[in-house]
């Protein structure tokens, strides 16, 4: 044991000598983008600009791999070890606010008035988090595919109806040119499911949970609209329109690009890479199944931890970070939707006439947040399993009933999650 003490102590001393003594107050910040070089550089740039811009605070960033970021934060909260500033995935914010991990953001709401609705994290009437970008999902297609199959180009004002969409899939299937007419990325059984697929359910008229009370999912997730959605969903896989949950990651990445899929439901973070490979790629709005065409909104956002000793410093950094120039820089680098119209005009892809401008419209008009409730974390898991099971052939009504039971039981166990 003594040897061990010496080793660890020696290392401790080594790290202690590494940092210079600072007069400013240090603010720790956690970010989910470890391993993402582009994001790392941008965040680093913002931080060093901020540190140079004033003399009260020094922000120090620690980056985490995204796939395990939430676990790291939860563990740190349990151990009482949260940083001052942390970023969080939009739909998780209510859970963390409710649990007392984060505090309301002391920023004047007027400063974020022009922000896209999906970039503002509001819980219990207060702003808790704000995002530098939003993400969006679109129907990827080739212009040449639409021409060959004789399909009209859907627009935001006149999207495909559900029937038109299925007719398009039928045409693609009948052409015999594609391995699958449609790809949904079903192997990604994480947050992708509720983010990408629950808008379909909403377009049918259902929802994950009854948003008028947030006390039950009864009727929303197993009513007639949800059953119709479930039947449609099952048909996509049972009749071979789309690959199921066992799809290999290779196909999911390459299938649209190499022409195995006619259409793909995919995020705009893939748009830049796809444009480089497919000349005539088009990003089409979601089809309308009767209750409007919808996509999910809400991406990563910054907030201040409840245990921070310096919330005003944390807020000062966040205010600094949401300048248009940074929003535009992020968008240019990783292809995401900038949070404000003025920032959009500064970007390559989202300015008027830019190749991805359609996504800005998508985010502004179609985007619907995932249920804004602390129970969302559990509801997302239940929803994901239900959709995977239905895709694999489970009885639609039984599966949705079971999902409702589980969600309701969870809400009850948590005393209504503060609603």
């Amino acid at each position: 044991m003594k040897k061990l003490t010496i080793i660890t102590s020696a290392l401790l001393i080594g790290t202690a000598l590494g940092g210079p003594a600072l007069a400013q107050t240090e603010l720790s910040m956690w970010y989910h983008g470890a391993g993402n070089e582009v994001e790392g550089k941008l965040i680093g740039q913002i931080v060093s600009d901020f540190n140079a811009s004033q003399s009260d605070w020094t922000v120090v960033v620690e980056s985490f791999p995204q796939e395990s970021y939430n676990d790291s934060v939860t563990a740190a909260a349990l151990a009482g070890n949260l940083p001052d500033i942390l970023d969080m995935d939009g739909p998780n914010m209510p859970n963390w606010a409710w649990a007392g991990y984060v505090q309301p953001l002391p920023i004047d709401e007027a400063k974020v008035a022009s922000f896209l609705p999906g970039t503002k994290g509001i819980w219990d009437g207060q702003l808790y988090s704000i995002g530098l970008w939003d993400a969006a999902v679109a129907l990827y297609a080739r212009k040449s595919t639409l021409d060959e199959l004789g399909l009209r180009v859907p627009t935001l004002d006149a999207p495909w109806t559900g029937e038109e969409f299925m007719a398009a899939l039928d045409a693609a299937k009948a052409s015999g040119k594609y391995e699958y007419a449609f790809d949904l990325g079903m192997n990604d059984m994480g947050e992708w499911y509720p983010y990408a697929f629950s808008p379909f359910l909403q377009s049918f008229g259902g929802d994950i949970v009854d948003r008028s009370t947030y006390k039950t999912a009864e009727g929303a997730l197993n009513g007639d609209a949800a059953l119709a959605f479930g039947a449609w969903w099952q048909k996509l896989f049972a009749e071979g329109y789309a690959p199921g949950t066992s799809e290999s990651p290779a196909d999911q990445t390459n299938g649209f690009i190499d022409g195995s899929f006619a259409f793909q439901w995919n995020g705009n973070w893939r748009a830049v890479a796809t444009m480089a490979e497919v000349d005539d790629v088009m990003f089409l709005p979601a089809p309308d199944f009767g209750n409007g065409n919808k996509i999910g909104g809400g991406s990563w956002q910054f907030g201040v931890s409840a245990t921070s000793d310096n919330p005003e410093g944390a807020a000062a950094f966040i205010e600094f970070a949401i300048q248009d120039t940074y929003l535009a820089a992020f968008s240019d680098a990783i292809g995401l939707v900038p949070s404000t119209p003025s920032a959009a005009q500064l970007t390559e892809n989202y300015k008027e006439g830019g190749p991805l401008a359609v996504f800005f419209g998508l985010s502004n008009e179609q985007a619907l947040l995932r249920p804004v409730t602390p129970g969302y974390v559990v509801q997302a898991k239940v929803f994901t399993k239900a959709l995977a099971d239905i895709a694999n052939g489970a009885d639609v009504a039984d599966t949705l009933d079971a999902a409702v039971d589980e969600i309701d039981a969870d809400i009850q166990k948590n005393d209504g999650y503060g609603h």
Partner: protein, 358 residues
């Protein structure tokens, strides 16, 4: 056994103490915490105060009932049959979601069998848990002989004096060197349903007759695929244990067997195998324990799907405790797992002990 020569309380405690203390501190104490959680409504993330709930978490997991459903009858009292001639039954949800049967509320069908015209349906409070339980047992039943036996064969194969045998020994051990998470990632490519490596190899070997199988996407092959991969990965690990056991067999015994003209099988049966008894117990127990803890493969490859065909207890414990923030429910699963495996290993020990004298 207790002779004066070995009797030594002081030295005995002193030698065992460091190990026992660390195990108590870092395994037993946390486990007791977990046991306590399982009797409360403790959440991973919550501002609500924790309450003692007794055995509620266990009831929610273990609740089982059998209901008998009579077939649907038309106006004349005739049994209604569907297009295929199968008897039509009212849906189970008409009972489990009816206010008339509050005792079955929230339960779901696990499986059913037919008895005369009626159907007997086993409904469970937590069908996913029940399936996880069943799958875990199936996994253990297959993996123990496959991995233990395979490893022994490998150990005997590799325990010969041949030029270059070390190279083979290293190769067989290689999959163990790679983390199971990584192995699972690689095998997702191998098991791919349309143009995966396995389907391609089988296709070539059968001269094109073999039709591609979606190994991880079918309820009847997914668990099997994971069993094969797991056996493949860890067989080298147990080969090493068998090898170290083989070294403890005195060479004189082999010499005697050779002089008496024993065949290869006889040598194995009467010299090698009896000499491996303690090793066999070790291998058997280690494989069983590891098999009950099946998690990483599921997490990377199937997430318990398709249709719960690969749900396992530890995967469910993690999914609930962390994913669904229900640390009390997750803890209850691990406590059940603990006592179940404890019962099994006590039985195992009892049986292996008996054979010694029998």
């Amino acid at each position: 056994m207790a002779t004066k020569l070995t009797r030594s309380n002081g030295a005995g405690w002193a030698f065992a103490l460091p190990g026992v203390f660390l195990i108590a501190m870092f395994i037993i104490v946390p486990f007791l915490f977990g046991f306590w959680f399982s009797l409360t409504n403790q959440r991973l993330v919550s501002p609500n105060p924790t309450q003692f709930v007794g055995i509620e978490n266990y009831q929610n997991l273990l609740g089982l009932a059998v209901i008998t459903i009579e077939p649907e009858r038309d106006d004349k009292g005739q049994v209604v049959r569907d297009d295929k001639g199968e008897i039509a039954y009212p849906r189970v949800r008409t009972i489990t979601r009816s206010d008339a049967y509050p005792q079955y509320s929230g339960m779901r069908e696990w499986f059913r069998w037919q008895w005369g015209d009626n159907a007997n349906v086993v409904i469970a409070s937590d069908v996913v848990f029940m399936k996880a339980l069943a799958n875990t047992f199936i996994f253990v039943l297959f993996i123990v002989p496959l991995q233990g036996g395979g490893a022994l064969l490998l150990a005997l194969l590799i325990n010969q004096k041949l030029r270059g045998i070390n190279a083979f020994r290293t190769i067989y051990f290689m999959p163990v060197v790679i983390s199971i998470v990584v192995i699972s990632l690689l095998w997702r490519f191998i098991y791919d349903g349309s143009d995966g490596l396995l389907n391609n190899i089988l296709n070539v070997l059968s001269f094109g007759l073999f039709q591609p199988v979606d190994w991880l996407g079918r309820t009847d092959t997914a668990l099997g695929a994971i069993i094969v991969m797991s056996a493949w990965q860890a067989v080298g690990f147990h080969m090493v244990i068998w090898l170290s056991g083989l070294q403890t067999i005195p060479p004189t015994l082999y010499e005697v067997a050779a002089i008496e003209g024993a065949s290869g099988w006889q040598t194995f049966r009467y010299v090698t195998w009896p000499g491996l008894r303690n090793t066999a117990i070790l291998v058997l127990i280690v494989i069983t324990m590891q098999a009950f803890a099946l998690f990483s493969q599921i997490d990377v490859m199937t997430k318990g799907g398709p249709l719960d065909a690969t749900q396992t207890l530890v995967f469910q414990a993690v999914e609930r405790g962390y994913g669904k923030q229900d640390i009390s429910g997750g803890s209850a699963i691990s406590v059940i797992l603990f006592f179940m495996v404890l019962a099994i290993s006590l039985t195992q020990r009892f049986l292996t002990r008996e054979r010694k004298y029998g």
